[in-house]
C-alpha cells in the first residue's frame, strides 16, 4: 500500500518538475544540465566497465577447455553410469523360403561342420547381438559380444581384451575373437553384404573362424598400410575341434596391405594361413543313399586364403553412390582319419585314412546406385579336388561335382541404423539338389554408435 503511495508521489513530482524547471533561472538550468551530464558520463563509464567484464567472462567461458564437464549433470546421479561401457544391440529377423529341406544340406565330397545350414524355413528370428565396449584402464580396452540365438540359447561370440598402450604399431588382443585371417572373417554377420556366408566360408570355416587365444598385430610405419598378424588359439572351432590337450590347437599368420588410389578408390588385399588340429570333429557328407551321413574327422588341416577388397565412390563420398568388389580364394588341405557313421546313431560305422586338397572362392560386387539403395551380386564356387576316403569310399557319394551358387540382393538402408534386404540365390551344393533360396531380412542397430569398419 505504502509503495503505491510512494509511486504516486513520485509520479506527481515528475509531472511537477517541468513547471519548476520553467520557473528556474538560466543559471540554475545550466547547473542542472551540468549535473545530468556528469551523471550520464559516470553511468557510461560504469556500463563500459561492466561490458568489458562481461566480454572477458564470455571469452574465458568459451576458451575454457572443458565446458562439457560443466554441462554434465550432478555427480551423484552420473558417477555410476559414467563408467558404463558403450552398449549396442543388433536385432535381426527374416523370412526364408527354401525349396530343399535344410536338413539335407551338404556339400558333395566336402566335409562341413554339422551346424552349417541355410537356416530354417518360414518366418523366424535371427541372431540378436549385444555388444559392450569400454576402456578397462590406461592399458587395456575390453569388448564383449553376446549372441542370442532364436532357440533362446546364449553364446559368447567375442570376448576380448585389447592392449591399447603399446607403441610402435603393436596391437595385442586376447580372449575370444574372430580371427584376422581373410577379409570377411573379422566382420560380424550383420555387417555382411549378403545374409549368409560365402560357400567357401561355410565349407572351410564352418561359417566363420573364431580363435580362443591371443593375437598380435603389427602395423608397419609406412604410408601404405601394411599389417602383419599372428595368432595362437585352442583350435576348438571348425576346422579344428576341442581336443582335451594342453597344447595349442590352432595358429595363424596373415599379412594385409592397403591404401588409396586417388580420392575415389581404396583397397585392401592380403594372404593368410591357418593351421588347426581336430579330434572327433563332427561333420556331415552326402552318402550313397542320398542322405546326409555324420562324419568324424581327426587330423590336421591347413588353410590358406588370399583376399582383396576394392571400394570406389566418386570423390570418396560414399553417401550418394559407391561400388565395392570383394573376393577371397581358399585352399585347404586335410590329413587324418575319418569315421563314417550312417546316421549318427549306434549302427554302421567305419574308420579309415582321409586326405583331401580342396579349394573354393567367391566374388561379389555391391553397388549403391542411389542414396539408401544397393544391389549386389555374388558368385561362389568350390572345387572338391581328389579326396581319398580309403574304405569309406564304399559309403559316400563320390561323384565329381563342383558346388556353386549365384546370389543377388537388393537392400534399403533408410539410416545408418536400419537395413532391409531381399535376397535370392540358386544354390547347387550336391548333384540333383538345386536349392532356390529366397530371403527377406531386417537388421536394426540401437545404442552406441557403431564403427564404420572398412
Amino acid at each position: 500500500m505504502s509503495r503505491q503511495l510512494w509511486a504516486s508521489a513520485l509520479l506527481a513530482s515528475v509531472l511537477v518538475v517541468p513547471s519548476i524547471a520553467a520557473a528556474a533561472s538560466d543559471a540554475e538550468l545550466a547547473e542542472i544540465r551540468e549535473q545530468i551530464k556528469q551523471m550520464k558520463e559516470s553511468y557510461e563509464t560504469r556500463i563500459r566497465a561492466l561490458e568489458d567484464r562481461l566480454k572477458a567472462a564470455e571469452t574465458a567461458a568459451t576458451s575454457a577447455p572443458a565446458p562439457v564437464a560443466a554441462q554434465a549433470p550432478g555427480p551423484s546421479a552420473s558417477t555410476l553410469a559414467a563408467f558404463n561401457p558403450g552398449i549396442a544391440v543388433v536385432l535381426q529377423g527374416n523370412y526364408q523360403s527354401l525349396k530343399q529341406d535344410p536338413a539335407q544340406y551338404g556339400f558333395n565330397n566336402i566335409q562341413i561342420g554339422e551346424e552349417v545350414t541355410p537356416g530354417r524355413r518360414g518366418l523366424g528370428l535371427a541372431e540378436s547381438e549385444i555388444n559392450f565396449f569400454a576402456s578397462v584402464d590406461h592399458l587395456f580396452a575390453g569388448n564383449l559380444t553376446v549372441s542370442l540365438a532364436p532357440d533362446n540359447s546364449v553364446s559368447v561370440e567375442e570376448a576380448y581384451g585389447l592392449v591399447t598402450a603399446l607403441p610402435y604399431g603393436v596391437v595385442p588382443k586376447f580372449g575370444r575373437f574372430f580371427s584376422g585371417v581373410g577379409y570377411m572373417n573379422e566382420q560380424h554377420q550383420h555387417a555382411w553384404d549378403f545374409q549368409d556366408a560365402p560357400l567357401a566360408y561355410q565349407a572351410f570355416f564352418g561359417g566363420q573362424f573364431t580363435q580362443d587365444g591371443a593375437q598380435v598385430k603389427w602395423i608397419a610405419p609406412t604410408d601404405t598400410f601394411l599389417e602383419f598378424g599372428a595368432e595362437i588359439g585352442n583350435g576348438d572351432a571348425f576346422p579344428g575341434s576341442p581336443r582335451n590337450s594342453n597344447s595349442a590347437g590352432a595358429w595363424s599368420a596373415f599379412v594385409h596391405a592397403g591404401g588409396d588410389i586417388g580420392a575415389s578408390s581404396s583397397w585392401r588385399a592380403g594372404v593368410s594361413y591357418l593351421d588347426t588340429r581336430a579330434v572327433d570333429r563332427i561333420g556331415k557328407l552326402p552318402d550313397t543313399t542320398g542322405n546326409i551321413a555324420q562324419t568324424s574327422f581327426a587330423g590336421k588341416t591347413h588353410t590358406a586364403i588370399a583376399d582383396f577388397v576394392w571400394k570406389y565412390a566418386p570423390d570418396g563420398n560414399a553417401t550418394r553412390t559407391n561400388f565395392k568388389v570383394q573376393g577371397e580364394y581358399f585352399w585347404q588341405r586335410a590329413r587324418g582319419d575319418m569315421t563314417y557313421d550312417s546316421d549318427g546313431a549306434p549302427g554302421l560305422t567305419n574308420t579309415d585314412a582321409y586326405s583331401a586338397n580342396q579349394s573354393g572362392w567367391y566374388l561379389q560386387g555391391v553397388w549403391q546406385f542411389m542414396p539408401m539403395w544397393r544391389v549386389g551380386l555374388r558368385y561362389d564356387r568350390l572345387s572338391q579336388g581328389t579326396p581319398e576316403y580309403g574304405t569309406n569310399t564304399a559309403f559316400l557319394a563320390t561323384d565329381p561335382f563342383s558346388p556353386q551358387r549365384a546370389t543377388m540382393m537388393v537392400d534399403w538402408t533408410p539410416s545408418e541404423f536400419s537395413r532391409f534386404r531381399i535376397q535370392y540365390a540358386q544354390s547347387k551344393t550336391r548333384p540333383d539338389f538345386t536349392d532356390n533360396q529366397f530371403f527377406l531380412q531386417y537388421i536394426l542397430t540401437l545404442g552406441a554408435h557403431g564403427a564404420h569398419k572398412f
Partner: protein, 301 residues
C-alpha cells in the same frame, strides 16, 4: 623361400630405421584443421588430411590408409563433438600409437575450445543423426577458428617444444591477419543480416549465427535423413508463408533437393565450399570465407 625372407627382413629394417624426421606429423580429420595446422606449423609440421571437402564427414570408413597414417602421427587434430565417432576411435585403436589416444596431448579436439550450439534437448535416434554434445560444424564461424587456433598453437608448442617459438610467432602473425580478415568480412557481410534462407543439412548453424541470417527450415526432415518429396512439399508450404531468398548446401551434398525446391519456390540455390577445398577458390582458410561470402552476396544480389 630364402630370398623372400631376406627381402622381408630388408624391408622391415628399412621401415624401422627410416630417418628420424624433425617435422611433426599432424593427422587432421577434416580439411579446415589441416589448413589451420599448416598456417600455424609451416615447415615444422607435415600435415595429412584424412578427408576431403567433397566427402560427407559423418560417413567415413576406417580405411587402411587412415590407419597407416595414424600409426606415425604425433598429433591428431579432430573436430570432436562426435563428428568422427564412426571412424576415428577405430582408426586410433588399430594404429598401435598410444600418443594419439583420446586424453593424451597428441589428441586435440577443436570442439573443446568453442561453445557448441544446438545441444539437443532430446537425445533419441528418432530425431535423426543427432550429435549429443551439440552441432560439430564449428568451422562456419571464423571467430571459432580464432579460438581453436590459439589452443592448437599452444598444443603444438607443448608436444614439440623445440619449435615452440615457431608456433608462437606463426600464431601471432596468423591471429593478426585473421582478426583483420574477420573485421573485413563482417563489413562486407552486412547486407546478409536478417536474410531468410533454407539449408539442405543443418550444417551451417555457426555461419548463419555469425552472419545474422535467418534459417527458416532445413530440407532434411531430420539431420542426416535424406529429403523426401513429401517433406520438401511441407518446406515449400512453409516458405510460402515465410518467404526465403536462397537455399544453401555444402559442396559434398547432392544438388537434387536444393534444385527441386529452388525451381518451385523461384529461389537461388547456393553451393558453399563448407570447408577448405570445397571449391577451387576455397584453397585455404582465408579463401574459404572470402568465397563463402562472395557466393552468398552474389546470390542475394
Amino acid at each position: 623361400m630364402h630370398s623372400i625372407v631376406k627381402w622381408l627382413a630388408a624391408a622391415l629394417l628399412a621401415a624401422t630405421v627410416s630417418p628420424a624426421y624433425a617435422v611433426l606429423n599432424v593427422f587432421a580429420t577434416v580439411p579446415e584443421w589441416g589448413a589451420l595446422a599448416e598456417e600455424l606449423g609451416g615447415d615444422a609440421v607435415k600435415v595429412y588430411v584424412a578427408t576431403n571437402a567433397l566427402q560427407d564427414p559423418h560417413h567415413i570408413e576406417a580405411k587402411p590408409s587412415l590407419i597407416a597414417r595414424a600409426r606415425s602421427a604425433d598429433l591428431v587434430v579432430a573436430t570432436g563433438a562426435e563428428l568422427e565417432i564412426g571412424w576415428l576411435p577405430l582408426v586410433v585403436q588399430q594404429a598401435g600409437n598410444p600418443q594419439i589416444r583420446a586424453g593424451q596431448p597428441g589428441y586435440f579436439e577443436a570442439a573443446n575450445y568453442v561453445t557448441l550450439r544446438d545441444k539437443p534437448a532430446r537425445l533419441d535416434r528418432a530425431e535423426g543423426d543427432v550429435h549429443p554434445a551439440g552441432d560439430p560444424h564449428i568451422q562456419g564461424d571464423p571467430r571459432n577458428i580464432s579460438r581453436v587456433a590459439s589452443a592448437l598453437a599452444a598444443r603444438l608448442a607443448e608436444i614439440d617444444p623445440a619449435n615452440a617459438e615457431t608456433y608462437r610467432s606463426r600464431y601471432k602473425t596468423f591471429d593478426e591477419k585473421w582478426r583483420a580478415a574477420i573485421a573485413r568480412w563482417e563489413r562486407e557481410a552486412a547486407p546478409l543480416k536478417g536474410v531468410p534462407i533454407l539449408v539442405q543439412h543443418k550444417g551451417f548453424t555457426y555461419l548463419i549465427a555469425w552472419l545474422g541470417m535467418k534459417e527458416v527450415a532445413a530440407l532434411e526432415p531430420k539431420p542426416g535423413v535424406e529429403p523426401t518429396v513429401s517433406y520438401l512439399s511441407e518446406v515449400l508450404a512453409t516458405i510460402q508463408r515465410q518467404p526465403v531468398k536462397i537455399v544453401i548446401r555444402a559442396a559434398y551434398q547432392s544438388d537434387r533437393a536444393s534444385q527441386w525446391i529452388a525451381e518451385r519456390a523461384k529461389i537461388t540455390p547456393v553451393v558453399l565450399p563448407f570447408t577448405v577445398g570445397g571449391d577451387p577458390e576455397a584453397k585455404d582458410l582465408f579463401g574459404l570465407f572470402d568465397d563463402t561470402l562472395a557466393r552468398l552476396l552474389k546470390a542475394i544480389g
